[in-house]
């Protein structure tokens, strides 16, 4: 099973491209920063260790669950050396499955970069407009931004819901000056597959909370809901065959280093 809960977090933002443990809410943190890049520093050749728990349900065309997978495993991600994609300086993000092998056949799962204190992401192909993961100047609590306005009809919204003086993630590690970004993602755009296929109908929806600590980066991601639905038509031997993929997931990941 190539289950990558831990990296839905990255994918969700890059593709745009409340079940959390409450921390102490303090908006008057004197040591906090106003710049997005301070909450997601991207450094060459960095290894990020995390732990993920979650479950995925696979459903048939009638909505009946045909399979469930659960994991409670350590994962690793790494930030590669800076390179140029689409004329932008970005770092490849690599994910490692729980068995230690690189995800996505050893290719990056996303790209991320910093420009004038804004943190932006690109998808794994680096062929889309950049999505703003964290804006240059953080908005006030309760305010939202659109990470990838150019990605319409994909709808992605990020909201700074909390600015905490400290926060203890689900792994038990406490961090100072943490922001909670709530993100939603909705995409009904079709994706053309190769071969004798009709364009499939696809739908992605996701709802997640991301916790970023000042000078540290992502310390926890709670995927409150994730759903993928795709129906495609394969013309084979004179018949149209319908293939439906439908899965739902929830999970959480937290940083261990």
């Amino acid at each position: 099973m190539k289950l990558t809960f831990a990296f839905i977090a990255f994918l969700l933002f890059a593709s745009c491209t409340n079940n959390t443990t409450p921390g102490t809410n303090n908006n008057s943190n004197s040591s906090s920063s106003q710049f997005g890049a301070d909450y997601l520093p991207i450094t060459d050749n960095t290894v990020l260790k995390g732990h993920a728990t979650g479950s995925v349900s696979y459903l048939d065309t009638n909505g009946n669950v045909t399979r469930t997978d659960e994991v409670d495993q350590d994962y690793t991600a790494s930030i590669g050396f800076v390179e140029t994609k689409n004329g932008q300086s970005v770092h490849p993000i690599y994910a490692f499955d729980a068995d230690g092998g690189k995800s996505n056949n050893g290719n990056p799962i996303a790209f991320a970069g910093t420009l004038d204190s804004e943190v932006f992401g690109l998808n794994k192909f680096a062929n889309t407009a950049a999505a703003t993961i964290l804006p240059r100047v953080l908005p006030a609590v309760g305010q939202s931004w659109t990470p990838a306005a150019a990605a319409l009809p994909i709808l992605c919204t990020a909201t700074l819901t909390q600015h905490l003086a400290n926060y203890t993630n689900k792994g038990g590690t406490s961090y100072n000056d943490v922001i909670d970004v709530h993100a939603t993602y909705f995409d009904t755009a079709g994706t053309q597959l190769f071969g004798h296929y009709q364009p499939p109908s696809t739908k992605y929806t996701a709802d997640a909370d991301f916790y970023f600590a000042n000078s540290v980066g992502l310390v926890e991601a709670d995927v409150n809901s994730y759903e993928f639905l795709q129906s495609s038509y394969d013309y084979y031997n004179g018949n149209y065959n319908v293939t439906v993929q439908h899965k739902k997931a929830t999970g959480t990941m937290w940083r261990k280093n």
Partner: protein, 148 residues
């Protein structure tokens, strides 16, 4: 004594029932060992030491197959393109499949959207031999016995 043959018959019947004979394959089964094969490479995993493999065949033709890895399955030899001393199946991982089963000749087919699982009972129905192929093209073989 006229009753003696009846006592003998009754005793044989009781002994037969106690001898793990099953009139139906419906029920709960579990496996202790799994053999995973790909190409010419094969490895046997004592699944009972790492988790469990359970199969429930229900009378309404539904089934539940559960595989749980609660402790890393680590391989010491080089296999499946992996270097030696690597985790073949990391813990904690639990996967459960649901669907309908049907019998065709001597083979049960457990179908679901995730693929097909084949189950072949032994001659005395005391054991089920299960096999399926996973997404990585590895063939899984397991022998299941009635769950006590």
């Amino acid at each position: 004594m006229v009753l003696k043959p009846y006592f003998t018959l009754a005793a044989l019947l009781v002994a037969s029932c106690a001898n793990n004979h099953r009139n139906t394959l419906a029920g709960d089964w579990s496996g202790d060992n799994v053999t995973i094969t790909k190409g010419s490479e094969s490895i046997s995993v004592p699944i009972g030491k790492h988790g469990y493999l359970d199969l429930s065949l229900n009378a309404d033709s539904s089934y539940t197959l559960s595989l749980a890895i609660l402790k890393d399955v680590r391989v010491e030899k080089q296999i499946f393109g992996m270097t030696a001393n690597r985790v073949l199946i990391p813990a904690v991982y639990k996967s459960t499949r649901y669907g309908k089963w049907a019998r065709a000749d001597s083979v049960f087919e457990l179908s679901s959207q995730e693929g097909r699982i084949f189950v072949r009972p032994s001659a005395d129905d005391a054991e089920l031999n299960l096999n399926f192929t996973d997404a990585d093209g590895r063939k899984w073989l397991a022998s299941l016995e009635p769950k006590e």
